[in-house]
């Protein structure tokens, strides 16, 4: 028996490092590719979470900026008007990106709704009447929760992130001439072109991809690897939460009325403590009671690190109770990793760079998925191959279609209709499901062509419907320098153009391999 014959019987992994890594890359990438694509798309979009939320509530006009002192004072004056049974006020002060004050009111359920969200004018504290919407928050939470019950979505996201990192390592090892090939692009050569595109996209933004995937895992660290926490904090998670997030449970009420201490001096103390930093959030527990506390949390856009910096004051006399201790190296590293992932620190230009890098990541995953199919075109009649093709279409064009439908639903539903938040989310999933069914029923070529055109059409419709249904159409926002609205509408148009070009290109070449 010759050595070659013996080798042929061995699994691919035993024939050498490169084929083994290729197997891992191909199949790991395929199985998690659709999920990873959805995570990357919604994550990339979430760089503009605040801006999307503003666009989805067009009633919030452009507001004049105020100081944190004025905004905090105005918000508290407003909230005090109805403080029966209140357990907590959580007030997010306006930022450069979101000009409103948002307040969350938690109540004793016996005295009113357990949780109420309010949007306040920062200068006057008056509530702003704006439509309910799932907003940018829905896409943000979908990015790691996947809209699944319990923590299931988060575990799945963690697993996908591990597979993504494995795909980076195995992909680089598989890739024989990583530097030389980077300058190689062979257009209109079917499989070759898809491979070149996949490689170029992967290599260009590789540092970003590795960073964003690893830091993504860090954000879910206590969930994925809780074993050290379990062992070192035998009294329960609470102790860990206190040490890590400086977030102790509220004190017990004394049932003795006492007014809240003036807020401005406390903001000044916090600002001095943080060398001129500003307060972004106020958490006030048991307001009006002798046992009230005021926790001031630093604005997270001021630092790269997302490790919490906060100060806790006695609510009635304003005395300092505690402040975040100086963090160690590991806690600081974790905070910086977490902060890098969220990118709250970045200005508008860096934010766009992150956004573009994210798009490159989406394109890398998409080209990888298509490459799998194109490479095995001979088996296109197999059931398995058909399922892959249908899922490719559902993910790569179906998800953008669902997102466009989600934005359109926000504009088409009446601003006052009850339960409109759920309708928006329902619309997103219903449209995605229909796209999936369409991809399953139609022949692959027709499915791609039709969905590319539908995506183009829907994204072109978004600014159009916005111009019809609100007073803040693209022409108006461009003239008035309203860059949140203009930016959103222009991005939607650019997306529409991208899909239209893809569709036209596809129609001309007649196959994905174009």
């Amino acid at each position: 028996m010759s050595i070659t014959a013996d080798r042929a019987r061995r699994p691919t992994a035993e024939r050498g490092l490169r084929p083994a890594m290729a197997v891992l890359h191909t199949w790991g990438g395929l199985l998690f590719g659709w999920l990873l694509f959805a995570i990357f798309v919604t994550g990339t979009v979430s760089y503009f979470r605040d801006e999307i939320s503003l666009w989805m509530r067009p009633e919030i006009g452009q507001l004049t900026a105020t100081t944190p002192d004025v905004a905090a004072d105005a918000a508290l004056r407003q909230l005090r008007k109805n403080s029966v049974g209140v357990r907590r006020w959580m007030i997010d002060l306006p930022t450069d990106r979101s000009p409103v004050t948002s307040a969350l009111v938690l109540r004793d359920p016996k005295t009113g709704p357990a949780a109420t969200r309010l949007t306040l004018d920062p200068a006057s504290g008056a509530p702003i009447k704006a439509r309910n919407t799932a907003g940018g928050d829905f896409l943000y939470y979908f990015h790691f929760d996947l809209y699944m019950p319990q923590r299931f979505g988060r575990y799945l996201t963690c697993t996908a992130a591990i597979v993504m990192l494995v795909a980076f390592v195995s992909g680089v090892i598989t890739h024989r001439r990583i530097f030389k090939d980077f300058f190689t692009f062979r257009p209109r050569r079917g499989q070759r072109s898809w491979l070149d595109a996949h490689n170029a996209l992967g290599v260009t933004a590789l540092p970003f991809h590795v960073m964003i995937t690893y830091t993504g895992l860090i954000t879910l660290l206590p969930l994925y690897l809780p074993w050290g926490i379990e062992a070192m904090y035998p009294d329960g998670r609470q102790e860990f939460v206190i040490e890590m997030f400086d977030d102790a449970p509220p004190r017990k009420t004394l049932n003795v009325a006492a007014p809240l201490a003036p807020i401005a001096p406390l903001l000044a103390i916090a600002s001095a403590e943080w060398q001129g930093g500003t307060v972004g959030r106020l958490v006030i527990d048991n307001p009006g009671d002798r046992a009230a506390t005021i926790r001031l949390v630093r604005q997270d856009s001021e630092r790269i690190s997302h490790a919490v910096q906060s100060m806790l004051f006695d609510g009635s006399n304003g005395a300092l109770i505690s402040k975040t201790p100086v963090t160690g190296a590991a806690a600081e590293a974790r905070g910086i990793f977490h902060g890098l992932h969220l990118a709250r620190f970045s200005d508008i230009w860096l934010r766009w760079m992150f956004f573009i890098s994210g798009i490159v990541g989406c394109a890398m995953i998409a080209t990888g998925l298509v490459l799998w199919s194109v490479k095995r075109r001979r088996n296109a009649a197999n059931v398995g191959h058909k399922i892959v093709d249908a899922l490719n279409v559902t993910a790569i064009t179906g998800l953008p279609i669902a997102i466009a439908a989600y934005f359109l639903c926000n504009r088409l539903l009446s601003a006052t209709s009850p339960g409109r938040t759920l309708w928006e989310v329902g619309c997103f999933f219903a449209v995605w499901l229909i796209a999936g069914l369409h991809a399953a029923i139609r022949p692959q070529r027709d499915a791609w062509r039709e969905q590319l055109w539908i995506a183009a059409l829907l994204f072109a419709t978004v600014p159009t419907v916005n111009a019809i249904r609100t007073e803040r159409g693209l022409a108006t926002s461009l003239v008035s320098g309203d860059w949140v609205f203009a930016g959103f509408d222009l991005t939607a148009l650019a997306t529409a153009v991208f899909f239209a070009i893809s569709a036209a290109h596809y129609a001309r070449r007649g196959e994905v391999a174009a």
């Binding site: 019987r9 992994a13 195995s170 050290g228 070192m232 904090y233 590991a330």
Partner: protein
């Protein structure tokens, strides 16, 4: 002769299940063993654990034989698993 699919299944299980177990054990070991305050030790252990998880999966497929792949994960698991309970 061992069939190919069996060897492949062994590598997949070793990599994905064994890899996670190894990362969990290492994270636990470091959380207990590192001579720093507990928050620091816990976070360091978990941050290294993620890397171990990825490396273990790569190893499970990169090792020349399936036996080496399995042993490469099992031996450190056993080693750290044996020491960790005795750290106070």
């Amino acid at each position: 002769m061992r069939p190919t699919w069996l060897l492949m299944t062994a590598r997949i299980l070793t990599g994905f299940v064994g890899g996670y177990i190894l990362s969990a054990i290492v994270a636990l070991f470091l959380a207990k063993a590192l001579p720093v305050v507990r928050l620091e030790a816990v976070l360091t252990g978990a941050m290294i654990g993620f890397v171990i998880n990825v490396v273990a999966i790569i190893w499970a497929f990169a090792a020349r034989t399936t036996l080496r792949a399995c042993l490469g994960i099992l031996v450190p698991c056993a080693l750290f698993g044996a020491i960790t309970p005795f750290i106070r």
